[in-house]
């Protein structure tokens, strides 16, 4: 007697969100990326539809970051040239380019103006074919100025603008609507706020299939289990029919993993049993990303090209359909 195969009967599914627009669609991207669409839990192909495998975005800054020396061989020659950096990220296999406008931080001496940000985004778009995501410096007023200019400059390209938070979403939502772009809603590890923010953004008029959720990633060893559980709960909510939880999830795996001492410490500063620094940071990031895949991450923001390579390889293995 064959065993009974247990299947959850879900009625909902994650909305499909498309990033980027090709020439026919009014943009200039070489391809578009589809996120979400799942009607079951991660990688349970036997149970439902998982039309789009998770994708990898790679992080590009508009100023030279203070990152571990581990990045030097990969990006050392492009630190001060975001356009060249974005092209490099594509060469390293980025499905999506994620541009962080850190240089627009108003507290910096030569803070980048909104107009300069817009020009940079145009240049990046001209030099690359991947869909683009753009995050402001994280200061509400400046974010609004910058993202509005960026939205205008990138009109038709269907980029993603972020990050909209509960107390600061109107300006970004307006910018997204004006340029018909996507928007990243960021909620602080709280499923109720996640939902509330999606409601507020869509009530402003942003179409729901233009919204991505960033429920805040915590890095491995520093609260990743909170992210994991919030993502599992939101995904369950989506599958049982809550449309305001049913949006693709963006995980900032790279930036969060590299906040940990374990990723950065040189051998001289390492704790007992930490092993060699070269691979330590890479696996710390890859582990962060891979764990979040299991909770339903749809887009993983990666920082180290080697970590991205490992995770991409695992996604390929995970995407082999299981069946009974």
């Amino acid at each position: 007697m064959p065993v009974e195969i247990y299947k959850d009967k879900f009625t909902g599914k994650v909305l499909e969100v498309i990033l980027g627009a090709t020439k026919e669609q009014g943009g200039t991207r070489a391809y578009t990326v589809k996120l979400g669409g799942s009607s079951t839990l991660p990688f349970l192909y036997y149970e439902g539809e998982l039309p789009n495998r998770p994708v990898i975005a790679m992080e590009v800054w508009d100023i030279k970051p203070q990152w571990s020396s581990s990045f030097e061989p990969y990006y050392g020659d492009v630190w001060n040239d975001p356009v060249a950096w974005a092209k490099k990220a594509e060469e390293y296999g980025a499905d999506v380019v994620y541009l962080k406008l850190m240089g627009a931080d108003p507290e910096l001496e030569n803070s980048r103006s909104a107009a300069d940000c817009a020009k940079l985004v145009k240049d990046v778009l001209a030099a690359t074919g991947a869909p683009l995501m753009v995050e402001g410096p994280g200061f509400p007023e400046k974010d609004n100025d910058v993202l509005q200019a960026v939205a205008e400059a990138a009109a038709g390209e269907n980029i993603a603008l972020g990050a909209a938070e509960k107390d600061n979403y109107r300006g970004i939502a307006a910018a997204a609507m004006m340029g018909r772009h996507c928007i990243i809603g960021r909620s602080p590890l709280d499923i109720n706020i996640l939902k509330q923010l999606n409601i507020m953004i869509t009530e402003m008029g942003v179409p729901i299939n233009k919204v991505l959720n960033d429920p805040i990633t915590s890095g491995l060893g520093y609260g990743i289990e909170y992210s994991f559980s919030v993502m599992e709960r939101a995904r369950w909510g989506a599958l049982i029919g809550d449309k305001m939880m049913a949006l693709p999830v963006v995980c900032l795996a790279g930036p969060e993993a590299w906040r940990g001492k374990e990723a950065n410490a040189a051998n001289a500063d390492a704790g007992p049993g930490w092993g060699d620094e070269k691979d330590r940071g890479i696996i710390w990031e890859a582990m962060t990303a891979a764990a979040l895949l299991q909770a339903g991450g749809d887009l993983l923001l990666m920082r180290h090209p080697e970590a991205a390579k490992l995770v991409r390889k695992q996604i390929e293995e995970l995407a082999v359909p299981n069946k009974y």
């Binding site: 065993v3 009974e4 609260g223 994991f228 559980s229 940990g260 007992p272 049993g273 696996i283 891979a290």
Partner: protein, 441 residues
């Protein structure tokens, strides 16, 4: 669990003899249902009734123990599908595989013993060694089992499908309660006999889920660990999910045991990511090959995170911590003793490269804003504590840096402690630039 008092009552003799200590069978049934009595108190229960009751009250997944001494590894006894439903209880055992004919076996065991990783106050060690009968010889397998047992007190798994080899090795180290891997459709009668003889847990391996369940049903032995035989990562995830769902939601008995999974990736980085997926998706034991500690640290950390009780805020010991070689001129920061908050702040303070003191203030493990709202991280609590704290002897300049989100408590702390209070950044990620701008680093 599961059965109502009435359902239990139906299985009792209904003679109301009173020997169980309560006057009637019904009263006894109610006491059983409430968990206030044990079945053995009634001398007259029939065997069928006992089996039915045992099955109904048994946990969905059996607790199985292996190993000996203070290295006993308990696995299984999980009750939920998602950690947020309650918690995961018994962390996945992480085993390293060695070959019985490895000329450097002794050195390899030394290496495994030597893997001791420490981070954020936690210590991670490999749970055990899985010995593969690569030689195919019973003598070599037995010698290897003895050699490993002699060199480590960690738990041991014996990997062979040859019953005579298993008997030789398991017999030699029976006192160590190794896990015997594995009984298959071809050898199970003999393997079960060996397991019973040496009183050790037995792994049951099927060609697929079906074959595994059929085999488990045939085996008259309860100390089991199960393996559907799947090795491809997405099929392992599917099978593990079936097993966990079937055991917890359907009480399907053949699935009611801990599980074991094996990595197949040759590249050690890919291998630990694969092991991560097995840990994330319910494996009770993972057997892998790499001994690279930077890789294992990431894996152990993930296991530890996943198995953290989501209902219990994890706290660090309250007190004053030196970050780097702090001295009398070092700045003093304060945060709460919620470990996530504490370690996040500690990491940021550390990255300022300025030796500092960091106070983990006792908030019963609540985060800054929650503790502030709950009256545990306020001037009235911090001020008096600070006044008497031994931090006063450690620094010359009495300046306390508080989180920006609770700037309002500045005045009260100053009034009650005599310290000067400096308002730091709202988010810990701002500490580096704060230190640069305000502390003249």
């Amino acid at each position: 669990m599961g059965l109502t008092g009435l359902a239990i009552f139906k299985l009792l003799p209904k003679t109301n003899c009173g020997e169980c200590g309560v006057p009637t069978c019904l009263a006894f049934a109610m006491a059983l249902a409430a968990g206030k009595a044990t079945l053995s108190q009634c001398p007259y229960v029939s065997n069928e009734a006992r089996e039915a009751l045992d099955a109904a009250t048994a946990p969905p997944i059996k607790l199985v123990k292996m190993g000996s001494g203070d290295k006993v590894l308990a696995i299984g006894d999980e009750q939920v599908i998602f950690r947020h439903d309650k918690t995961f209880y018994h962390p996945t055992g992480i085993f390293i595989e060695v070959a019985d004919n490895d000329a450097n076996l002794a050195a390899k065991i030394d290496e495994i013993n030597g893997i001791v990783i420490e981070r954020v106050g936690q210590k991670y060690e490999v749970d055990g060694v899985a010995i593969a009968n690569a030689s195919g010889s019973a003598d070599t397998f037995k010698a290897a089992a003895e050699a490993v047992a002699g060199k480590t007190d960690k738990a041991i798994i014996l990997l062979t499908e040859c019953p005579t080899c298993m008997e030789a090795a398991a017999g030699a180290i029976a006192a160590r309660k190794p896990l015997l891997y594995a009984a298959t459709a071809d050898n199970y009668e003999k393997m079960v006999a060996v397991a019973k003889k040496v009183d050790a847990p037995l792994a049951v391996k099927g060609a697929d889920l079906n074959a595994m369940a059929e085999l488990v049903a045939k085996i008259d032995y309860k100390e089991l660990v199960i393996d559907s035989g799947a090795r491809q990562i997405s099929q392992v995830i599917a099978d593990q999910t079936q097993i966990r769902n079937g055991a917890v939601k359907k009480r399907f008995r053949p699935y009611g045991y801990p599980t074991i999974a094996f990595t197949t990736e040759a590249d050690p980085a890919m291998e630990v990511l694969e092991a991560q997926a097995f840990i994330s998706k319910y494996a009770s034991i993972v057997v892998l090959k790499t001994t690279k500690t930077e890789y294992l640290m990431a894996l152990f950390t993930w296991r530890s995170n996943l198995y953290t009780d989501p209902q219990k805020p994890i706290a660090v010991q309250p007190g004053v911590y030196a970050i780097g070689a702090a001295n009398e001129n070092s700045p003093v920061y304060i945060t709460t003793n919620f470990s996530l908050t504490y370690y996040t702040v500690a990491t940021e303070v550390e990255s300022t490269r300025l030796p500092s003191y960091l106070i983990a203030f006792d908030t019963d493990g609540l985060s800054v804003m929650t503790a502030w709202a709950g009256g545990k991280f306020i001037g009235e609590a911090i001020g008096p504590w600070l006044k008497d704290s031994d931090i006063n002897e450690k620094v010359k300049k009495k300046v306390l840096i508080i989180p920006g989100g609770v700037a309002a408590i500045k005045g009260k702390i100053e009034d009650l402690s005599g310290w000067e209070v400096m308002v730091g950044p709202r988010d810990s990620s701002g500490i580096t630039s704060f230190a640069k701008l305000r502390l003249n680093v």
